[in-house]
Each structure stands twice: as structure tokens, then as C-alpha cells.
């Protein structure tokens, strides 16, 4: 049987994302995010939908956390924490469902994007999310973005990471 998490990890790293495996406890999660964003002057958290508030709640106590950011703070914050709707093993992509407050902003505006991905939400291929049977068919109904590595360009000669979107993408794979 294919280990989807291992395949995901391999392909995500190939796409220049970082993947950290993390226990699914508030403390472990807080430690991991704190470590990843330890230099951040501002951390913004999108509203969770799939993981449960009790797991996420600890992040609100991190130094630099901005509780209710205005647009000015969103434009200048350093790190955004986003929850993934799904992960895709074959491509190493995280799939983020848009629409809940701050999801677009945290996954796009800050130089560091930390994405929380629950292991059981990893599917084999991108097209699986277009199957009405997969994840209750939500993939066919929601506004989604597949994110595969940090934003990049080859228009300036060599490949450069960090263009209009995040320079770094860290996936916390929640075991």
C-alpha cells in the first residue's frame, strides 16, 4: 500500500516546500509554529474549519500574533497560518479552501506561509478532489487553490522563489 504521507512529503520538498511532521496536540503545534515563525514581527491566523479550535487555540498566544488584523497589518505581517482542505500526494500540493476569513490573505500576502495539513486529508492525485465521493464532494463545491511550493518565477533568468506570494512554504503534516 502506498504511503500517501511519504509520497506527499517527497513531492512537496521537490517543489521547494518544507514539510515538518508534527504531533496533533496543541502544544506540539504551538511549538512548531513558534519555531518556524520565531523571527516574525506579525503572525496572522486564518479561521479554522477542519481541525477544531481547541488544537489551534494555542497559536493565539504566540509572540507577534495579531488577533484582528486590519488591512494595513495584513500588508505588513511576516507569517500567515492557513489550514489545508486537503493534500495531494502525487504533486506535493496543499489544497486550500477559500472563503473563510483571512484564508486568502494568510496563504498569499505574507513572506512565510505555514499550512496545517491533516494526514488523513491527503489524496493520491489532484483529480481525486473532483470526485463526488472524495471528502464528501466538497472539492467540487468550494473555491479552492492548489498550492505547490512557494511562489516562483523564471522570468528574471534563473528560478527565483518569492515573487508576489510567499517566499517560503512550510507544511506542518499533522500525524
Amino acid at each position: 500500500m502506498v504511503d500517501l504521507a511519504a509520497t506527499f512529503e517527497e513531492n512537496a520538498m521537490e517543489a521547494s516546500a518544507m514539510v515538518w511532521r508534527c504531533e496533533r496536540t496543541p502544544l506540539s503545534l504551538r511549538k512548531a509554529v513558534g519555531l518556524a515563525a520565531h523571527k516574525a514581527r506579525g503572525i496572522v491566523l486564518s479561521e479554522p474549519e477542519f481541525l477544531g479550535d481547541s488544537l489551534i487555540a494555542g497559536l493565539r498566544g504566540l509572540a507577534g500574533f495579531i488577533p484582528r488584523p486590519d488591512d494595513d497589518q495584513l500588508a505588513t505581517a511576516d507569517a500567515g497560518v492557513t489550514e489545508a482542505f486537503a493534500g495531494v500526494a502525487s504533486t506535493g500540493s496543499v489544497c486550500v479552501a477559500l472563503g473563510r476569513p483571512l484564508v486568502s490573505a494568510t496563504s498569499l500576502l505574507m513572506p512565510l506561509n505555514i499550512v496545517l495539513l491533516a494526514r488523513e486529508r491527503i489524496v493520491a492525485r489532484p483529480r481525486d478532489l473532483f470526485d463526488p465521493e472524495c471528502l464528501k464532494g466538497e472539492g467540487l463545491k468550494r473555491n479552492l487553490v492548489f498550492i505547490t511550493g512557494p511562489s516562483a518565477t523564471a522570468d528574471m533568468g534563473p528560478l527565483v522563489h518569492g515573487v508576489h506570494g510567499p517566499h517560503r512554504l512550510l507544511v506542518l503534516l499533522l500525524e
Binding site: F130, N143, H164
Partner: protein, 813 residues
């Protein structure tokens, strides 16, 4: 490289160099030729490096897709179905978008689209628009219209940002600034922004551009994007990108306008699934692009409102553009182009595009092989003149994720352009004498010549001594008044260049004293008794009149393997005519070849075709040229490449290759450089040669170029000789590189024109694989005939050389 090195060569002699804009519209030939010169001078190195990088990535990425072919079939079915049902899908899409609170406008023309977008901007008092990459917005010249009305247009895709600064049109529809090296971007930024900041790395340039663009996103009133696909059932846009600028343009400003051609609509969101894997792999050689969004706008998040920027409600407009597409849809040939998903795989796999890019091989908006149909469909036929640069090599065919037959589109464009020529008596007479179809007699003389090459080859062979004298020596040397030796083009070659467009620098292969058909008649055929495998070797025009030895070697090898072999009459099968857009003539030729082979096939004979471009006709192009699918299938299923057939015969008989061929007899050593013909690769006939030679113990390396650059008549033409040689340089470099690594290798090429191109690069023998195999046979029944032909070739070359010497003496005296 410094800035001065990238100045065009012509600048050095005080001539104003062409800019890409000067030569964007190629409705006249002169601009096409200037564009080729400009691109070869300035852009070629960078274009080649970048396209080849994409191309290698694509080969790697699609190889990792386990069901690549099934995905292509699925995508093709979805696109075909969508195009067929467009009139029904448009109202469904309108309802879906309106159900979310969005607006839809269907624009019949580019002007209608621009007017609507301008109206939206005026209603919302927009002062600044930020744009994501959209080739369709280039097609409708949107920037120009908005800027004329005082609205600032900010291109946010970094490639488009570069082009906006440089005032150039895109050279590639996926990577619009693909022709820009890092050094040229540095020079451009320093010049335009008058900055002393260090901009010597990709990171510095990216940071510099990002800092200038971030505020534009935050304060823009309107964001404009394109769309890769649109689902009618949900109004979902599929948006693929790497930088994040499309996400920003659709998320930050209060108004989002998406512009898309109507052909982007597919029935359902679920049917977007196969394109997820296909698009990124085909386009950028990645498993998935950085961002692939599925949005049914307007978004629910509140738009961004920084201090000083008024909060406005979110709004979405979808502008669907016809601008000629519905007319293309009605055309039985050009509706094919509407299947295009703009991945650019056809551009990156094209040897000519790799060498000059889209500023030469492209028009004002669209570029590459697929671009001609789009320029013609959305503007006018003459703007598609650059499609002449499609040589029909077919390397794009298998790379297209939706299986578009791009060469066929370009052959049809050439046909239409031929018919635009004014009628002239000489062309009409020449067309009539050579047997060209009536509709093709208005084509330029050069095209009638190349398209009916069999006619001239037949007469050239009959009078080979005179013909070789005329065509052999292109330069005439004489002393001027001061005793200096001067070279002038020989009058015959000058006339050929003027009338037939044959470049005087290109060596012409001599006409043989004996054709393949004549030489084969002199062979003693073994008794057919007990020989169950029956073969007819098709005497294609190129082998019959130019490379008879290859045909004789083929006969000898097949007989040695136990086949009962006969040779057909030499008739054209339509390749030459098709390559000139003389489709009616190609149909005549194809039917003639089919009739010639009919009785052989009925006798149970398989067809072996030595020249790969001729074989490709049987395997591919006859589907367009013969009367029915059944007729096409009758010949497709029986036509084989010689080595492919040898491998089949060996497998059938259960014999090992070593039992028939003895490598120790090789007269050319054991190191081979094999260059397979482009069309041979497309129809999957490269592998048998490689496998057989390796099985026999040869050390074989192959070229990885898509095409040698000769491409039939293309490299002979004075308009394209320089380009042909520039393309060939890649192949020559690979030969030299391989030679350096352990010593000279015997060059082996399957195609006639590839052989001629190799001769242009190297003063060395070039053999066909069957010639090598024939020399390895345990029993060489026809060795005497081959020796005789070799001797004739030597005599011929010697005759031509002595004639040249004689003429020099005459000119001296």
C-alpha cells in the same frame, strides 16, 4: 555577457535595428524575413536555452504521468464536446455566474470587449487597473484602449512587466518574455528606472519588481485576469500561475474582470480534472504549477481597503470573447485550433521556434505552430504568414495534450495563402506541365517547383550530366582587373535562386545515373518459392532519384531475411506537394501512390518505405488525403520503416540478430552517431534502429534535437537558409561533442534531407541504417550491385568535380 554584446549586429554598421514591434505584423514577407534576422541576431541564444529547458522538463514530467495517453484522450473528448456545444454552454454559464451575483458579457468583437471593460472602469471611477497575464487581452489590444482613456494599466506578471517597459509584444504565450536574458533585463531596468541599485541577480531583479508592484495591487481599483478554463455548470474559473499575481489581482481589488475566449468554456467543473495533470506537465514540465485556483467569483472575502482607499463592494465581470472564434468553429479544418489549451508544448518542441522564438515565428499576439491559425482566425489570413516557418516536421503532434494536428492547420493556411497570389501565366503553365492540381497553379513558382520535385527529378536524372553541370557549382571564381580572385554566384545558381528561391549556398545533391527502380531491375531476384513474407519496397521520389543505394540495401537485407521483395514504380505520394500547401496536388499524388500499391497490397505484400517523410504520409497524412478511413487504414496498417520491418521479421522467425548480421564485418567501426528523422520519431520508428544496433553490439549515441533544420525543402530556400543552418548548428554541435568523447563516430541518418544537412555540416560519409546492415550480412547477394552503385556515385562526383575544374580554367583564360 555585457550590454554591448547584446546589441544587434546591424547596429555596428550604423543601420537602425528592427525592434520586435517593427516586425510584429508579418502580413508581408519582408517583415517576416527581417524578424528572422532580428531574432537570430539578438534573441536566439536565450530563446533556445529557455525553450529547451521547458522541453526537457516536459518530457520528464509527462513520462511520470502513468496514464498520459488516456488523459490526453479524455481532455480531447471534453474539448471537442465543448466546442460542439458552445451555443448551448454560453447561456448555461451566464446563468451560473449571475446566480453568484456576477455579470457576464459576450463580446462579438475586440472593440465590443474593450468598450465593455472601459465602461466598467468608468462606472467604478477606476484610475488604476492591475492585470494578470492574459494573451486574450493582448489580442483585443486592451491596454492601449484603457491607457488612451487615462487609466493606468499595470502588468503584474513579471514577464509582462518587462514587456510593458520595453514596449514589446509577447514572444511566447506562456512565457511572454522568454527572449530576455537576465543581462538584458538588468540593462532594461537600469535604463527605464534610472537606478544605480545592484540588479545583477534574478533575486535582485525580482525584489525590485515586486516592491514596485505590491502597492499597485493594494491600491488598484480593478483587477483583470484571464482564465485557463471555465465550467459552465458552476461558473468556476480555472486559473494557473506561478507568481501569485493572478491570485492577488482577483482577490485584492474590489472589481475583478476575467477575460476569456469562448473556447475556454467546458460543460462541468468535474471535467476540469484531467487538465490539472496535463496542463502543468505540458506547459512548464512540473507536476503542478505553484498556484492552480478554482474560483466561482465574486469572492466572499471583503476587498482590501488600506487607509485612504474607499471601501467598495466586491464585483465580478466575465467577458467572453468571440472575435472570430465562432467562425473558426464553423470551419471544418480550423475549428481544430479551438481545442488549444495554450500550454506552449508545441512551441517548445519546435526546432525553428527554439531558434528564433515568437518574435519571428509569431504575429502580433499569437506565436509558434498553433499561432498562425489563431492570428488568421482573430485578425486576417495575411497576418498568419509566419506559419510558413512550420516545416511540417510533426514534432509538436505528439506533444500536444489535446492532440491537435498543427502541421495540417499550417498546410491549410499555406493553401489559402497560395490562393491569394495573383494568377500569372508562367505559374499556370509550370503548374500544368508538372501536373499540379488546378487550384494549386496560382502558387509561387518556387512552391510549384518544390511541390512537384518528382517531375524535375525525373528529367534531371534522364539528363544527369547536363543537370549536374548546371546545378553543381554555385560559385564562379575569376580574377578582376587587379589580379585578385573574386567569387560570384554562377549564373545558373543565380537564376535558380531568383526563380526557384533555391539558396545558392546550399549544395545540391547530384542526380544519379541510375534510379532505384532501374538499379533494382538489374538485381537477380531469388525464387519466391517458400518465401511467405511478401514485401513491396515503395520507390519514393527521394530515394529513387537521390539515394538509390539505400533502396538497394533495403532489398538486399529483406531478401537475405527470406522475404519475397519487389519494387514499386516511383510515384509521388504527396509529401512534397503537401509541404508547399498544395493540398489538392497532394491528394492527387496520394491517390496515385495508393493506386500504384493497391495490387501489391491485394497480393498480401507489406509496404516498406525507405524515406521517413514518405512513410509518415502512409501512417499519418493519408488520413487527410485519401477518400475514406478504410483506404487510409488499408495503407497505414501495412506500411513500415525498413529497420522496423527487419526487427519484425527477426521476431517472427525467432532468429537472433547476430545470426543474420555479423558486426565483425563492419567497415565503419562500432561507434555510431544516429540521427533519426523528425517524422520518423513522431511515428515511433526511431526505437527499432537503436535497439537493433545495440543488440548487435554497436556503441550508438543519438541526437536529441527535435529536427535537423533541413526539413525537406525548407533548408534549400533562400528565405530560410540562415535559419535552417542555425537550427542545424545544434545537431552539428552534438556530433562534434560526441566525437570528442572517444573519437569520431560514423554518422547514420534515416532521412534524405537530414543526410543533406549533415553534409552541409561535415565533409564525411553519412549512411542509412540499412546500408550498414547490408554490409553485415553473412551472404551479400547484391554486394556487386551495391559496389556498382558506389562506383557510379564516385564517378558522378568526380565528373562534377572535373566539370568545376574545367569551368575554372575557362574562367581563368
Amino acid at each position: 555577457m555585457n550590454v554591448t554584446e547584446i546589441e544587434p549586429k546591424s547596429a555596428a554598421v550604423g543601420v537602425r535595428a528592427d525592434t520586435p514591434r517593427d516586425v510584429a505584423n508579418k502580413s508581408d514577407k519582408d517583415r517576416l524575413l527581417r524578424a528572422i534576422r532580428m531574432s537570430l541576431d539578438i534573441e536566439s541564444t536565450t530563446v533556445r536555452a529557455n525553450t529547451q529547458l521547458f522541453n526537457r522538463g516536459r518530457y520528464r514530467a509527462v513520462a511520470e504521468l502513468p496514464d498520459y495517453d488516456a488523459l490526453k484522450d479524455q481532455a480531447r473528448r471534453i474539448k471537442e464536446k465543448s466546442i460542439a456545444s458552445l451555443p448551448e454552454l454560453i447561456p448555461i454559464l451566464k446563468s451560473s455566474v449571475r446566480a453568484h451575483g456576477g455579470h457576464v458579457f459576450v463580446a462579438n468583437t475586440a472593440e465590443d470587449a474593450c468598450r465593455y471593460i472601459l465602461d466598467v472602469c468608468h462606472w467604478r471611477a477606476a484610475k488604476m487597473v492591475v492585470k494578470g497575464k492574459s494573451i486574450t487581452s493582448e489580442e483585443i489590444r486592451l491596454n492601449h484602449i484603457l491607457e488612451k482613456e487615462g487609466i493606468e494599466v499595470v502588468e503584474s506578471d513579471l514577464a509582462e512587466f518587462i514587456l510593458q517597459l520595453a514596449d514589446e509584444q509577447p514572444s511566447h504565450f506562456l512565457a511572454p518574455a522568454l527572449h530576455y536574458s537576465r543581462e538584458r533585463i538588468t540593462a532594461l531596468f537600469k535604463r527605464k528606472f534610472k537606478t544605480e541599485l545592484p540588479l545583477d541577480t534574478g533575486e535582485e531583479l525580482t525584489r525590485f519588481a515586486r516592491e514596485r508592484l505590491r502597492d499597485k495591487f493594494l491600491y488598484a481599483d480593478v483587477g483583470i485576469t484571464g482564465a485557463n478554463l471555465i465550467a459552465a455548470d458552476t461558473g468556476t474559473l480555472m486559473l494557473v500561475e506561478s507568481e501569485g499575481n493572478i491570485r492577488l489581482a482577483s482577490y485584492l481589488p474590489p472589481v475583478h474582470i476575467a477575460i476569456a475566449g469562448v473556447e475556454k468554456i467546458i460543460p462541468t467543473r468535474q471535467e476540469m480534472a484531467p487538465f490539472l495533470d496535463l496542463l502543468s506537465a505540458s506547459a512548464v514540465g512540473q507536476k503542478m504549477s505553484v498556484y492552480t485556483s478554482f474560483l466561482s467569483p465574486p469572492l466572499t472575502d471583503p476587498p482590501f481597503a488600506l487607509p485612504g482607499k474607499p471601501m467598495k463592494p466586491r464585483e465580478f465581470h466575465l467577458v467572453l470573447i468571440d472575435n472570430g472564434r465562432m467562425q473558426m468553429r464553423e470551419d471544418p479544418v480550423f475549428k481544430e485550433a479551438l481545442n488549444c489549451i495554450r500550454c506552449g508544448a508545441c512551441l517548445n518542441s519546435c526546432a525553428n521556434f527554439q531558434t528564433v522564438g515568437g518574435h519571428a515565428f509569431g504575429g502580433e499576439t499569437y506565436s509558434g505552430g498553433i499561432g498562425g491559425s489563431w492570428e488568421a482566425g482573430t485578425s486576417k489570413l495575411e497576418n498568419a504568414r509566419f506559419s510558413e516557418m512550420c516545416t511540417g516536421c510533426t514534432r509538436c503532434v505528439n506533444q500536444c495534450p489535446v492532440r491537435i494536428d498543427i502541421p495540417w492547420l499550417n498546410e491549410n493556411l499555406a493553401r489559402q495563402l497560395n490562393q491569394k497570389e495573383l494568377p500569372a501565366t508562367l505559374r499556370s503553365v509550370l503548374g500544368s506541365v508538372t501536373g499540379a492540381a488546378t487550384e494549386d497553379r496560382s502558387a509561387p513558382i518556387a512552391k510549384i517547383f518544390f511541390g512537384n520535385y518528382h517531375y524535375f527529378a525525373k528529367w534531371g536524372t534522364r539528363f544527369s550530366s547536363i543537370a549536374n553541370l548546371i546545378s553543381g557549382d554555385s560559385k564562379k571564381r575569376h580574377k578582376d582587373g587587379e589580379g585578385e580572385v573574386k567569387e560570384t554566384i554562377s549564373p545558373a545558381r543565380l537564376l535558380m535562386e531568383r526563380w526557384l528561391g533555391l539558396d545558392h549556398r546550399r549544395g545540391l545533391p547530384p542526380f544519379p545515373k541510375q534510379t532505384l527502380v532501374q538499379a533494382a531491375r538489374q538485381l537477380t531476384a531469388p525464387s519466391s518459392k517458400g518465401r511467405d513474407t511478401k514485401v513491396v519496397v515503395f520507390a519514393d521520389v527521394f530515394t529513387n532519384y537521390g539515394m538509390a543505394r539505400r533502396g538497394i540495401a533495403t532489398i538486399e537485407v529483406l531478401r537475405a531475411l527470406g522475404a519475397d521483395v519487389v519494387v514499386s514504380e516511383s510515384v509521388p505520394e504527396g509529401r512534397a506537394a503537401l509541404s508547399q500547401g498544395m493540398i489538392a496536388t497532394a491528394k492527387l499524388h496520394a491517390r496515385r501512390a495508393a493506386m500504384e500499391l493497391d495490387s501489391h497490397v491485394s497480393d498480401g505484400r507489406d509496404i516498406v518505405v525507405v524515406e521517413p517523410s514518405s512513410l509518415s504520409m502512409f501512417r499519418r497524412e493519408f488520413s487527410h488525403l485519401l477518400d475514406s478511413k478504410e483506404r487510409f487504414e488499408r495503407f497505414r496498417s501495412r506500411a513500415f520503416e525498413p529497420v522496423e520491418y527487419v526487427v519484425r521479421m527477426l521476431a517472427k522467425s525467432g532468429r537472433m540478430a547476430q545470426q543474420v548480421f555479423d558486426i565483425s564485418k563492419s567497415k565503419v567501426g562500432y561507434r555510431l552517431f544516429f540521427h533519426a528523422h523528425c517524422q520518423q520519431k513522431t511515428i515511433g520508428c526511431e526505437e527499432p534502429t537503436l535497439a537493433l544496433f545495440r543488440e548487435l553490439g554497436f556503441d550508438v549515441v543519438t541526437s536529441n534535437v527535435e529536427c535537423c533544420g533541413m526539413a525537406g525543402s525548407f533548408g534549400y530556400k533562400k528565405d530560410f537558409y540562415d535559419l535552417s543552418m542555425a537550427v542545424g548548428a545544434d545537431l552539428f554541435g552534438q556530433v562534434v561533442q560526441q566525437d570528442r568523447n572517444g573519437g569520431t563516430r560514423q554518422i547514420v541518418a534515416s532521412g534524405t534531407s537530414c543526410t543533406e544537412q549533415m553534409h552541409a555540416g561535415f565533409d564525411r560519409s553519412v549512411l542509412h541504417p540499412m546500408e550498414i546492415l547490408a554490409s553485415l550480412l553473412e551472404v551479400q547477394e547484391s554486394a556487386a550491385k551495391l559496389g556498382e552503385l558506389e562506383e557510379e556515385d564516385r564517378e558522378l562526383e568526380s565528373d562534377v568535380a572535373s566539370l568545376k575544374r574545367g569551368r575554372k580554367e575557362v574562367s581563368k583564360s
